[in-house]
């Protein structure tokens, strides 16, 4: 029995040693996205630019962010539905911005422009952000594209992030 418990202890010691010897030193912490505008459920005005505002931060170094907007027609099965405005084109936006060297970033711009011929309806807005090590964060929002209403100040939006 003595040999057995000895063996046991040795085994545990080996495991403990292994675990200690190779501590993880790579950065596995994701960047943090605080998307302020547009908020979830916001209406974006067709033919206008989008008021885009967010705070980004990372424990080490930010790299880049990407904004992806695409249609979410017909109960999100992406099926074609352009009955209302046959001449219009489903809006699709895909653009990346560099942030290399920064640990935090305040983003505020009006670079997203919705053309006049964009099909009104439900859309998804997704913001991706990567850090220098390859960690990636994502925020998704539901937005509506419409000819009416649209961009106006949202004083106290309830963001879920």
């Amino acid at each position: 029995m003595k040999t057995i418990s000895c063996f046991n202890i040795c085994l545990l010691a080996i495991f403990a040693l292994l675990a200690a010897a190779c501590g993880d030193d790579s950065d596995n912490t994701k960047p943090v996205i605080n998307l302020i505008e547009p908020a979830d459920g916001d209406t974006l005005h067709i033919g206008d630019d989008v008021h885009f505002e967010m705070e980004l931060s990372d424990n080490e170094e930010l790299k880049s962010y990407k904004v992806d907007i695409h249609d979410n027609f017909d109960g999100h099965t992406h099926a074609l539905s352009r009955d209302t405005e046959p001449e219009s084109v489903a809006f699709s936006f895909n653009k990346t911005w560099e942030l290399t060297g920064k640990k935090t970033a305040s983003v505020h711009h009006h670079e997203i422009v919705i053309p006049e011929n964009a099909t009104p309806g439900a859309y998804h807005l997704m913001v991706y952000c990567t850090d220098a090590a390859g960690n990636e964060a994502l925020v998704a929002r539901d937005v509506v594209l419409s000819h009416e209403g649209g961009e106006h100040d949202h004083g106290d939006d309830d963001h879920d992030e």
């Binding site: 979410n72 992406h78 220098a132 990636e136």
Partner: protein, 725 residues
């Protein structure tokens, strides 16, 4: 524990005699003149082992056997999930229907599943493809932990799960069994009937299995998908119901030293996908449809047809065995037509067919075993496999490919006495993979509309690259088994494993609809290669049993999905993940202790630990199983068994990049099994209560982990087994 140690003497002698049965016979002749007056046989000792014992002793790698117990407390109707009870083995779950096994953190196509000597094909297609095996038909299962490329070629880097069937009865008779299963968690109702008939040299067997299950019930009201909280109506995942239907037939002939069999089986599964994890989520699609047992769109169905045959003949010093098999795996995923590209319209024929894969596999394996009747035994083998994969559907996931692989090996075993056995061998494999390219014209138009340059478009329009690669590799293995008086068993092995890169690892280029990532293959990938050292010690004496099996593996090239930091231009994709090779380390082991206490009580402790590290990225590898321990106390008396188990799962914080940590849990399980005779049958009823405290916990290896979908809550299972003779 002793339940599956019931000596299957007849089988043992047949299976084991060339391997471990030792024959010590001495013949004393007393002759007078030139006539033999008498022959006095002094002593003939034939030692045989029961099947589990023999399998455990035959391999220098740690082996776990699940016998009859497999169809008792652990039986859930899902093969890979039931295997998750074996220390060092986990199941990677894809909803309630599909699961695949992971051995010591190595999953996907790093585990070979052998059924009746033929490698099961199909489950390796991708992250969300399960294993199509009839759990009721897995009569005996041996798990070989460690690299077994020497005997099985590519893919066996993590280990081998070997499914064998029970031997036929010795005398002419009809045997059969009826197994019924019911499960509360998803309303499973299933059963399997088997009938076998032995007549002289012939034995025939037929099995039919059918299972139906309703929506998967979970102890939460919401799940998270793409950072959004989605409701789970009535705590049941809508549209995850499904069914399974399996048929298997087997004919066997044995006369003298000749043995042959033919087995044909067909496994069919149809399981719905949770609409919250397929496509783009929307609360509207997750509303309760009022029916928890229907399977609507989106769903997937798989049909696996398998025909295998064995021819075996033994002579005095040589035996010959040939296994041949044909498998046809057809899987399809149906979902209402959807696209990201306005230029694409639904196909005229089968507009709902999103993806279809059809894989044909032909395999052959030849073994020649020679021995000198004493200490030496030599096995020479030649394996060959031809695969042809074709794809269809309006969407694209994996490319079509042709693959040919062949390998030649030699293994020598030296047994200087009955206690020690040393074996070593080498193998050479060659493989050729040809992946067919796939050009996505709709994507091309979309990217042009988005204003991408032609050079950029050229990078994306091939959803699969044209790849033609030739591979070759050597495998080695050297091991020893020392068996001291049947109480101490010591094993040591060093082996090299390898794996040819899969078609997706070489050629894929696009968003995987299951992982929501832009996954890109690398046509220049080298085969995965690793060395592993395994030790194992087990002690069995009196009321005590103990076993420990540590291992250490180093991969010079371990293929993983590496985040590149490059943005993908594809809709719904973040950065590109590219398959890459990295130097990696795996270490860990299993430990178990059993004590037979007085008054029919027994206690068992088993634990497992895996450490994984990507040495190039200086970070853990993804899907590292958490440390786990099980404490089981049981009471057994005259066919009646009661058990309670405390399962501790540690928090897994060692995660790869972009993989979330998973909290641990303490779970309580209990079960009762009773056997009683009814008529001329010995009916066995098992009641198993899993997660008795209704804890909400997560499986780090689950496919649905990323949408924060927990494991089932409290679940009650009933298994009734009625054998007849």
């Amino acid at each position: 524990m002793h339940a599956y140690l019931i000596p299957l003497a007849w089988c043992a002698l047949l299976v084991v005699s060339p391997a471990t049965a030792s024959e010590r016979d001495s013949l004393a002749r007393e002759t007078t003149g030139d006539t033999i007056a008498s022959i006095r046989l002094e002593e003939v000792v034939i030692t045989g082992r029961n099947y589990p014992g023999a399998t455990r002793h035959a391999s220098p790698l740690p082996v776990e056997i699940t016998g009859k117990g497999f169809t008792r407390e652990d039986f859930t109707g899902n093969f890979a999930r039931a295997l998750g009870r074996v220390p060092g083995v986990h199941s990677m779950d894809i909803g309630s229907g599909f699961s695949k096994p992971v051995i010591r953190g190595m999953g996907f196509n790093r585990v070979v599943v052998l059924e009746n000597g033929v490698k099961q094909e199909g489950q390796q297609w991708g992250a969300d493809h399960g294993l199509e095996i009839d759990a009721f038909n897995a009569e005996s299962v041996a798990v070989h932990k460690g690299p077994a490329s020497l005997l099985h070629g590519s893919d066996a880097t993590g280990g081998v799960i070997e499914i064998t069937r029970r031997p036929p009865p010795v005398d002419n008779r009809v045997v059969g069994e009826l197994v019924l299963l019911a499960r509360a968690m998803n309303g499973t109702v299933g059963g399997s009937a088997m009938i076998g008939m032995k007549r002289g040299a012939w034995y025939a067997k037929l099995r039919y299995t059918e299972q139906h299950f309703g929506d998967y019930r979970v102890p939460v009201d919401t799940v998270i998908y793409l950072t959004r909280r989605l409701p789970v109506a009535g705590r049941a995942l809508k549209n995850t119901a499904g069914m399974e239907r399996d048929v298997a037939g087997h004919v066997e002939y044995r006369l003298g030293a000749y043995h042959a069999w033919l087995t044909a089986s067909n496994a069919y599964q149809k399981v719905g996908f949770f609409p919250g994890a397929h496509g783009v989520p929307d609360p509207a699609r997750l509303e309760d449809d009022g029916n928890s047992r229907d399977t609507g769109l989106p769903y997937s169905s798989v049909n696996h047809l398998k025909v295998t045959t064995r021819q075996e003949r033994g002579w005095e010093r040589v035996s010959l065995r040939w296994d041949a098999g044909y498998q046809r795996n057809y899987r399809e995923e149906r979902s209402r037509f959807h696209t990201h590209y306005g230029t694409m319209s639904p196909p005229e024929r089968s507009p709902d067919l999103e993806l279809a894969f059809s894989l044909d596999t032909y395999s052959s394996s030849l073994r020649v075993t020679r021995d000198n009747g004493r200490e030496w035994e030599q096995v020479t083998g030649w394996d060959m496999q031809v695969q042809r994969n074709r794809v269809a559907g309006y969407s694209f996931l994996l490319p079509g490919y042709d693959r040919l692989s062949t390998g030649l090996f030699g293994l020598v075993t030296y047994r200087p006495d009955t206690r020690l056995s040393i074996s070593g061998g080498a193998r050479y494999d060659r493989g050729r993979v040809e992946v067919f390219p796939y050009r996505d014209e709709h994507l091309e138009i979309y990217l042009r509309e988005q204003g991408y340059s032609e050079t950029e478009i050229a990078r994306y329009r091939w959803r699969a690259y044209a790849v033609r690669r030739d591979f070759d590799d050597f495998s080695f293995s050297l091991g020893a088994v020392l068996d001291l008086d049947d109480t101490h068993l010591l094993k040591a092995n060093i082996g090299k494993g390898f794996r040819l890169p899969g078609a997706n690892e070489l050629a894929a280029n696009g968003v995987h609809h299951g992982t929501f990532r832009h996954e890109q293959g690398d046509p220049s990938l080298l085969p995965e290669r690793g060395w592993q050292v395994d030790l194992s010690y087990s002690y069995r004496g009196g009321a005590w049993s103990l076993s420990a099996s540590p291992f250490l593996a180093f991969f010079g090239n371990y293929i993983y999905l590496k985040p590149t930091g490059e943005w993908s231009a594809l809709p719904h994709a973040g950065q590109i993940y590219r398959y890459a090779g990295a130097r990696s380390l795996f270490a860990g082991g299993e430990l178990s202790l059993g004590i037979d206490l007085p008054l029919g009580f027994s206690y068992r402790l088993s634990g497992e630990y895996v450490y994984s590290r990507n040495l190039d990225d200086r970070s853990p590898l993804s899907f590292s199983p958490p440390t786990q321990a099980r404490n089981t106390i049981a009471w057994e008396k005259s066919g009646f068994r009661l058990h309670a188990e405390w399962q501790h799962i540690a928090t897994q914080r060692r995660t790869a990049k972009n993989e979330d940590p998973t909290n641990g849990a303490d779970l309580l399980h209990a079960g009762v099994t009773g056997a009683f005779s009814a008529g001329n049958s010995n009916v066995e009823i098992t009641l198993a209560l899993e997660n008795a405290l209704d804890k909400r916990y997560y499986n780090h290896l689950s496919f649905y982990r990323k949408i924060e979908l927990p494991e089932p809550g409290r679940d009650l299972r009933v298994v009734i087994r009625i054998p007849f003779k």
